[in-house]
């Protein structure tokens, strides 16, 4: 609304200023009247967003959503949802033409679906996924969708404006369930993700597609409803797969579970009993002759970070450690008497006896070094976890 009003300020004034500028700076540098081009960009993008009607209609479950035309022959990309769960699915184009569609493929991880519109027209307006740019935090964006199903027939879909607030991993939940997609998304400050908006477009002020508006989700970090879009580069591959008729059977991108996960006991750390949902991760005791003892950890130390990630509870520490392979080194930062103490722990190799007689007397640094040396000299390729560790050393 702001930019529209700003843009439409007295055409006469704008023209005058333009003339003044062109006179001052020369015609080559004279910008085009962007008020007109913004309107054109919006209109152009609206033509590429479709209204989808399907199953639902009962309380709290709307029977409509939005979709993007991504090919001239009528491929429609949208979110996978209960709305598509019907034989009687219909799509209405910007010009009011309605048609039936068939479901070509789904991506269960990103919760996407590819539809094909049954039309003769081979020259439909569409977004070119391959040419989609990336956006930065602070970029002005437009969210274009049929939110609340407010547009019908040949009415253009709605346009909201805002900026990209953040680019961050989607850590979200729907009710009590975590969303399966964990990749980076554009978080925007427009109220972009309301009922019916899912499947709509996030575009820049030139009308170029940046991302697909997702389903309504709450942030796990803040508990607030998120307004976000999945960037094109996060789904372009999956769309190609769906379009070629193959199914996307990629597992959640959360990362592979380690084959032989590390446990706190391997490091010799015993935390206080985990009684509360957020029990502070204080060290209860340190096993003698363990890596933790060698690194100088003590009872009553509070585990603040594991590999640079902040730890809010005992459960978080156990989970963070369990994401590591047994042979990985783990950086543990503890809070002791108001100071942060950094340590690096590595579990003894599986062949080793838990109480090597001569190493127990050596000091912490020496023990750490020898453990590291042992793993580096181990046969075969270096453990991939360790390599990653080095490269992200400075990364908080």
């Amino acid at each position: 609304m702001r930019q529209a009003s700003g843009g439409s300020m007295s055409a006469a004034t704008a023209a005058l200023v333009l003339i003044a500028l062109c006179a001052a700076a020369g015609p080559a540098a004279c910008p085009s009247a962007s008020a007109a081009s913004l309107h054109d960009a919006i209109r152009e993008a609206q033509r590429k967003v479709v209204k989808i009607y399907g199953a639902g209609g009962v309380r709290g479950l709307e029977a409509y959503q939005s979709g993007l035309l991504i090919s001239s022959e009528g491929h429609v990309l949208t979110v996978q949802s209960y709305v598509l769960d019907t034989e009687d699915l219909s799509v209405v184009l910007d010009d009011g033409r309605a048609g039936s569609v068939e479901l070509i493929g789904v991506d269960p991880v990103r919760e996407l679906a590819l539809l094909k519109l049954n039309v003769e027209d081979r020259s439909l307006p569409h977004f070119n996924l391959a040419a989609a740019p990336a956006a930065n935090v602070g970029d002005r964006v437009l969210a274009i969708s049929n939110l609340f199903g407010i547009a019908a027939g040949d009415e253009p879909v709605s346009v909201l404006q805002g900026v990209v607030s953040a680019i961050a991993p989607l850590e979200a939940r729907r009710g009590a369930f975590d969303a399966s997609f964990r990749g980076n998304v554009y978080i925007v400050d427009a109220a972009a993700n309301n009922p019916g908006a899912a499947g709509g477009a996030l575009v820049n002020w030139q009308g170029e597609l940046l991302g697909l508006l997702g389903k309504e989700l709450r942030s796990r970090a803040t508990g607030a409803w998120l307004h976000y879009a999945v960037p094109v580069d996060q789904f372009i591959g999956a769309v190609e797969t769906m379009r070629s008729g193959r199914s996307v059977d990629e597992r959640p991108i959360a990362g592979q579970a380690p084959a032989d996960p590390l446990a706190l006991a391997d490091l010799g750390v015993v935390l206080v009993p985990d009684l509360l949902p957020r029990t502070p991760p204080y060290i209860d005791s340190v096993l003698p002759n363990s890596p933790a003892a060698a690194a100088g950890l003590r009872p009553d130390d509070l585990v603040a970070f594991v590999d640079g990630a902040p730890m809010a509870s005992c459960a978080a520490v156990s989970a963070a450690v369990a994401r590591r392979e047994k042979f990985d080194a783990v950086r543990v930062s503890v809070l002791r008497e108001g100071r942060l103490v950094e340590t690096e722990l590595r579990a003894a190799a599986s062949g080793d006896s838990p109480s090597p007689a001569d190493e127990s007397s050596s000091d912490a640094a020496a023990a750490g070094d020898s453990a590291a040396a042992a793993s580096e000299s181990s046969p075969g390729a270096p453990p991939p976890g360790a390599a990653e560790e080095r490269s992200t050393e400075d990364d908080p």
Binding site: V17, A20, A29, N136, R140, T222, P277, A312, S333, P396
Partner: protein
């Protein structure tokens, strides 16, 4: 259109920032096409600006393309400029949720306010009372932090880290320069450490929340609470916080209040200039508290009602300064205040310990004098306790008939409306209608047989009892004020405190008599039946008429009620929040029917929306139901009681503490207070009494006892009775019912 001017102003204020690289460091980051575009055309803009300055001595409205791109570049430059002063904060340990409310799990944001490591954040991120706090600086440095103190007036916390090098403190935007319509960018560092998040809006208003906060339409949520709201130069306008209007009472400040309005177009930020001004004392005092006066004001619309004092808390700053009932506050620090709202704007932003000059107007008409006093605001007041004379007014048909005209709300409203008219008139009049009868009129009244208040019973061992007042006497004067009704007597006593001496004039057998009494505190014991001889003979005729139903439009729930036949008395209202189901209503009604008929009580039994039982969602329904019931039945305003069993009792507490103006009693059976409930202090104009019923050997009893102590501490008269534990059923046995009935019957004591 007001929009165009602000766009122009934003453009104008941006130009120097663009021309001067000062605060807008631009780090190497991927440049968008739009930004490159902006850079390419910066030269043109400057030339254009010069051209326009020559032409019109005014920054030009740049062409829209320029403007849009420049604006976008300015937003990111503003965020870059402040980024080093924005930190991420991690709380370790603490609570997971408060009651049913899940607390945010993620990081929160803070603003560096001093080079030596002071950081301000929103109290919202610290609601869980973390055991340890870690701060991550923009460059990734991790530092343990100490929580120095809280500010419960502006919902902030102050942290301190010990950095190895000086930190970059945020630069404040001068408060005097901030105007509605200015760009405002809300910045957070919650999602990730590398890059702050941002939301763009404008300043919507200044001096919101009684002068404590700026308002913005940028998205404000847990993603940026504690972060800065910055102008296009990256100067910090304020620190983002959730905020909601505060209840007048004491009690713990609710730091999560207002968070439900996240991302809604209404966000708040505490001006950084205000924070910095208070920083030295904040460091020294550790906790900053809201400042309190210790007075209550006349009822009525606060925007139109004069700040006329109706009670002065004993031991409060106001009492120490010699303030008196009926004084009117006319100025604070030399600034005129006409209404209670204006007064709140003057006092609301202050802290305990602040000294303020108050000008009072005492007396009416030609005798009025202006008094200058100085007050040091207190952080806590001793809770108000009502004074007790020890009489129960006779509850007769005539008394009931005469009541409507003396009804306290009606009385107060008439005062309020007089004041509104006063506001227009000049000079204002301070005389209250209650003061108008001259003393000779009073003595006329005293001689009449029906003058004053008929005393139905005297509370044993009360001040009245010890002075020799007897049932059948008529109370005609308290101090030098004539008393025409029980409500007038209560109003007069509301301005007194336990321990005060007062002269009581009565008429006995046509003869005036006077006693000097020392007022006591409201009693918490329950009288025996023989001490409550005011009732007409109990009608033992048993009728088994079916319960009647009360339904609200558009609400599926049914409330069932039993109303005794009309007998000329105004009936009390007992709202009973029991388990759901018609059977329980029928059995409750069967148990209470005889008492209802004898004491003139309407028993109203609503049911929860969810068959699982009462939930906080039912509060709105109950509020509406109560209003409907009060409109339908001619209810005795002194005997409106809400009772509940278990969870229903918790709801009864919530309902009664929120509706103290209407509700006079709450009966809680096996119910502790809801955990999230802020217990407001007892207030002079409201007379809420509490009856807590606990089962013998109930495991909850310990919790309930703690809450009883909390309510007593807040100044409420709390009566505790123990009932026999009969399995799981919370329905009171007959002895408990009888005690409850006598407690309700004594609620109109004064």
């Amino acid at each position: 259109m007001p929009i165009v001017p602000f766009v122009i102003r934003a453009a104008a204020s941006m130009l120097p920032a663009q021309a001067n690289p000062g605060p807008c460091r631009r780090p190497a980051r991927p440049q968008t096409a739009a930004f490159r575009h902006a850079v390419q055309h910066r030269t043109i803009t400057r030339i254009g600006a010069l051209a326009a300055l020559v032409a019109a001595s005014f920054a030009p409205p740049a062409p829209a393309a320029e403007l849009a791109d420049l604006e976008q570049a300015a937003f990111t430059a503003a965020v870059d400029a402040v980024a080093d002063s924005v930190v991420q904060i991690h709380a370790v340990g603490g609570l997971d949720e408060i009651d049913d409310q899940q607390l945010a799990q993620g990081a929160t944001t803070g603003v560096i306010v001093s080079a030596d490591g002071h950081i301000v954040s929103s109290a919202f991120g610290f609601a869980q009372q973390p055991t340890s706090i870690i701060v991550l600086l923009a460059d990734g440095t991790r530092l343990p932090a100490d929580l120095i103190g809280r500010d419960d007036n502006r919902m902030l916390v102050l942290l301190k880290v010990d950095p190895s090098r000086p930190l970059r403190a945020a630069e404040p935007a001068p408060l005097g320069e901030i105007r509605p319509g200015d760009w405002a960018v809300a910045v957070g560092r919650t999602y990730g450490l590398q890059q702050p998040s941002m939301s763009v809006g404008v300043i919507s208003a200044l001096k919101r929340m009684h002068g404590r906060a700026l308002q913005t339409d940028a998205n404000v949520s847990a993603a940026n609470y504690g972060g800065p709201l910055v102008d296009v130069h990256g100067r910090v306008q304020g620190v983002l916080v959730p905020m909601a209007p505060q209840a007048g009472g004491a009690g713990e400040a609710n730091v999560t209040a207002g968070a439900e309005y996240y991302d809604s177009g209404i966000g708040f930020a505490v001006p950084l200039e205000d924070v910095l001004r208070n920083l030295p004392r904040w460091k020294e005092q550790k906790d900053l508290k809201r400042g309190r006066l210790g007075v209550s004001f006349r009822d009525g619309n606060p925007h139109a009602t004069r700040p006329v004092i109706t009670a002065v808390w004993p031991g409060s700053p106001a009492a120490a300064a010699g303030w008196k009932v009926d004084d009117r506050i006319v100025a604070v620090n030399g600034r005129q205040v006409e209404t209670q709202t204006q007064l709140r704007f003057e006092v609301g932003p202050r802290y305990a310990g602040d000294k303020l000059k108050f000008t009072l107007r005492r007396g009416a008409g030609a005798d009025a004098e202006e008094i200058e006093t100085q007050i040091t605001l207190a952080d806590r007041l001793p809770p108000f306790r009502h004074a007790f004379l020890g009489v129960l007014p006779e509850r007769t048909a005539e008394a009931a008939e005469s009541q409507p005209s003396d009804d306290p709300p009606a009385h107060e409203q008439s005062n309020a409306s007089t004041d509104e008219e006063d506001a227009a008139a000049d000079p204002p009049q301070d005389a209250q209608p209650a003061d108008e009868p001259a003393s000779d009129t009073a003595s006329d009244a005293a001689s009449g047989a029906s003058a004053g208040v008929a005393i139905g019973a005297v509370w044993p061992d009360s001040p009245a009892d010890r002075a020799g007042v007897e049932a059948g006497d008529r109370l005609v004067k308290l101090g030098d004020k004539p008393v025409a009704s029980a409500d007038e007597a209560v109003l007069l006593l509301n301005a007194k405190s336990p321990g005060d001496q007062i002269q009581v004039a009565i008429v006995r057998d046509g003869q005036p008599q006077q006693f000097d009494v020392q007022l006591a505190e409201l009693p918490t014991e329950i009288l025996s039946a023989s001490d409550l001889p005011r009732r007409p003979a109990a009608d033992e005729a048993a009728d088994e008429a079916a319960l009647q139903e009360l339904k609200l439009p558009e609400i599926p729930q049914t409330a069932r009620y039993f109303a005794p036949p009309k007998d000329g008395r105004r009936h009390g209202l007992l709202v009973w929040l029991g388990p759901p189901g018609e059977e329980t209503a029928t059995s409750r009604a069967a148990a209470w029917r005889r008492i209802c008929r004898r004491d003139g009580l309407i028993l109203l039994m609503p049911e929860p929306a969810d068959a699982a039982g009462w939930a906080a969602d039912d509060l709105e329904y109950l509020g509406r139901l109560l209003q409907t019931a009060l409109a339908r039945f001619d209810v005795d305003p002194h005997r409106i009681v809400v009772a509940g069993e278990g969870r229903g009792g918790q709801l009864a507490y919530t309902l009664a503490l929120a509706g103290r103006r209407t509700i006079r009693g709450v009966v809680a059976i096996d119910s502790p207070l809801p955990r999230t409930l802020e217990v407001p202090d007892n207030s002079s104009n409201e007379r809420l009494a509490i009856l807590s019923i606990e089962a013998e050997g109930d495991p909850l009893a310990l919790l309930v006892r703690k809450d009883v102590a909390r309510l007593t501490e807040a100044g409420y008269p709390v009566t505790v009775i123990t009932r026999r534990a009969n399995s799981d059923d919370a329905a009171p046995d007959s002895a408990t019912r009888a005690q409850t009935a006598r407690w309700i019957d004594g609620l109109d004591r004064f």
